[in-house]
């Protein structure tokens, strides 16, 4: 973890990584080859079981990230496994 990581937000750190990759080809290559390692080194909150991949735009390619929602949410889903108990009448 870099010295400054503790006082910076994850967004701040990612900005630092981006700026360094723009100016340091070796670092950019390492970021591409060992993304999780670099992110961890900088103190970013990488999650176990998740692969991280860096993609780079080019003059003729613009990468778009389609984020994934955590899942549908509705009250009906919660009703399905609701036993008859002391405090579940909706109030």
């Amino acid at each position: 973890m870099s010295d400054s990581a503790a006082s910076k937000s994850a967004a701040d750190i990612w900005r630092d990584i981006t700026a360094r990759a723009w100016s340091d080809d070796a670092f950019k290559q390492r970021l591409s080859d060992d993304t999780t390692g670099v992110l961890s080194e900088y103190g970013l909150p990488v999650q176990a079981g998740i692969d991280y991949k860096v993609v780079e735009d080019t003059p003729t390619l613009r990468n778009l990230v389609l984020i994934r929602p955590s899942g549908d949410v509705s009250v009906a889903q919660l009703d399905a496994d609701e036993p008859l108990t002391d405090d579940n009448a909706g109030f």
Partner: protein
Amino acid sequence: MTGAALEWAAVEGGAVLVATPERAWLHRADGWGRPDPFALPMRHAPGDVAATGRLLEGAVAAGLAAARAAHPDRRPPPLTALRWMWRLAGLYHLTTHTPALMREAVTRFEIAGRPALAAWARDKARDETAHDALALRDLAAMGLDGRAVVDLLRPPVPMAMVAWFRDAVHAKAPPLGVLAYACAVERLAMRVDAGYLARVQALLPAGVDATRCLRVHSAVGSDARHVEENAAVVAALAADERAGIVFAVSEVARLSCAPSADGYVDDVRLAAVQHTTRQEGRPHE
């Protein structure tokens, strides 16, 4: 799908709820490494009624999920006839303040220059009048002095919800939390379907009709229509007002499911109240 109705707002638990007329999703932004299309608050107005309905429903679900996540060890006792008395006391306290508080909200909406919301609150005050009497009748049907029961039993979750409602009425005008409260409580009531009512009825002695209040506040009562009406009222508001209401809905839903710090009332105390308030010549367990 260009131009499809889309609504989003933050909810309890640190997530953003995203809704279309058909579905709602929870979205947890990690805040780094990629742009988040839902990081900025929605700005369009009015909202889409169907998507707003999904958003409000999702907010209730998110609030319930947040409460469960915060209290994973929650083990509410099984419902029994004795504990139904406790629940009826809660329904009484939940309903008895509504008309007066809604009338206060009418005045506050009028002062704020929001006649449509004042009219909505006026209708609510009228619709909810005398529902507390239903809970008292239910208690009487169980052979109990309803007034005495509700004097002795003040279930903490309904009392906390009423306190939230009261604070919302008295908050900075316009008191939009009042809409959030109604949206949450009336959608929560919809969780009570005919099957649930039958299961409660089966706990009670034959011939005892003590689910009047629950029936009115259920999917078979008037609350089904109210949920749709509420979505239309909320959808007509400015985007920041809609977003505030959605968060507040999740807050009320969380409150409705959060166990009391004192734990669950025990059967010994309930039996003592039942004994004290039993009326001679009336049916009882």
